[in-house]
Point group: C2
Chain length 206, copies 2
């Protein structure tokens, strides 16, 4: 199981300070959507140069122009780029095509998707990494639960990531479902001792 740390709502320099503290415990570094929109893909490039051994996830949240935006992220150094599950299917297929050609990967963000048929359609279209995701704004009215995990149960050759307000207390409930990637944001980036927080969480998921 991999630990992905999500960098969001942070100034440029802090993104690097955080990763320098937690690099021994994290596998995937995520540049969050807000950070990309604030600074552009230049921060993806600099992060990949600084930590080439880490898997770099660009949370592009692509909705349209799949080929163009995927290339934008991959050319900057991303290993994985996100597309919204509710984007037009053609957009998702285009993202997967561009990523496959570059031997990179697309993570499909399931924000707002609640029906199994849609997920099966995504998998048939080539999606092999799905992110169960309760957005920041939705977290106000409840987090991920067993119902979300049932959406992806029993799918073949599909990896899953989970994201949405995960911290040390809520983590054990997620671990029961054996996702492939655990995505943690503020429970690491806003911790008093980030290095310790990341180490503890990494220890829990091993």
């Amino acid at each position: 199981m991999k630990l992905q740390v999500a960098l969001d709502r942070l100034p440029w320099d802090d993104c690097f300070t955080v990763i320098e503290s937690v690099k021994d415990s994290v596998d995937f570094i995520e540049i969050g959507t807000g950070v990309i929109k604030e600074f552009g893909v230049g921060i993806i490039k600099e992060m990949k140069q600084a930590y080439p051994e880490k898997t770099l996830v660009a949370d592009m949240k692509i909705c349209d122009a799949g080929k163009h935006e995927t290339a934008l992220a991959l050319d900057a150094g991303a290993d994985i780029t996100t597309v919204m599950g509710f984007a037009p299917l053609q957009t998702i297929k285009d993202c997967i095509e561009v990523a496959n050609q570059a031997d990179k990967q697309i993570m499909v963000d399931l924000l707002g998707i609640r029906n199994r048929e849609k997920i099966e359609e995504l998998v048939e279209s080539g999606a092999d990494l799905l992110s169960l995701h309760i957005g920041k704004d939705e977290q106000k009215s409840g987090g991920l639960d067993a119902e979300h995990f049932r959406l992806v149960e029993g799918l073949n050759d599909v990896q899953t990531a989970v994201a949405g307000g995960i911290n040390q207390d809520s983590l054990p409930a997620f671990l029961e479902h054996r996702p492939d990637v655990i995505i943690v944001g503020s429970a690491i980036t806003k911790a008093k001792n980030r290095k310790e927080a990341a180490k503890t969480i990494k220890g829990m998921i091993k």
Copy 2:
């Protein structure tokens, strides 16, 4: 009826060259999603400083973190920011709240939305500017048609924008539906004579 020119897949300098050519004919300047992700919101700031008299639309395509991303765009100088209609309803409400407080506006992008109930829900949540939008990737299999316009027919106090591969040939069919904003991208930005193309289109919509 307003003419909005969409700047997408253009280098930073070209965005300004294009606007300098077409400024007499366009009302709204849109910084496209790809441009924002490539360069960050700094280009919104520079565009607003260069053309303060124009309405500046940041096509942020917000999916989550509505308050944060709306503030990011508005603080940079945007007058209107887009949110995806398929984002969680809480996200859309948050965007509208932040925009209203700043006396700015949210454009809800209806990409992928095909049911009237969803649109009525958006309007009840405070959406007052809806964008009928066939994405770049969807355009391969067909453009906007009368069925799309029926989605927004008869709604009170709601303005509509239309986007998706509109050019001089296809424009008359859109004009019949009397939208408030016509969004044109490559038919202006890739025209041999951009100034003339913008002038012709502006003349057609008046």
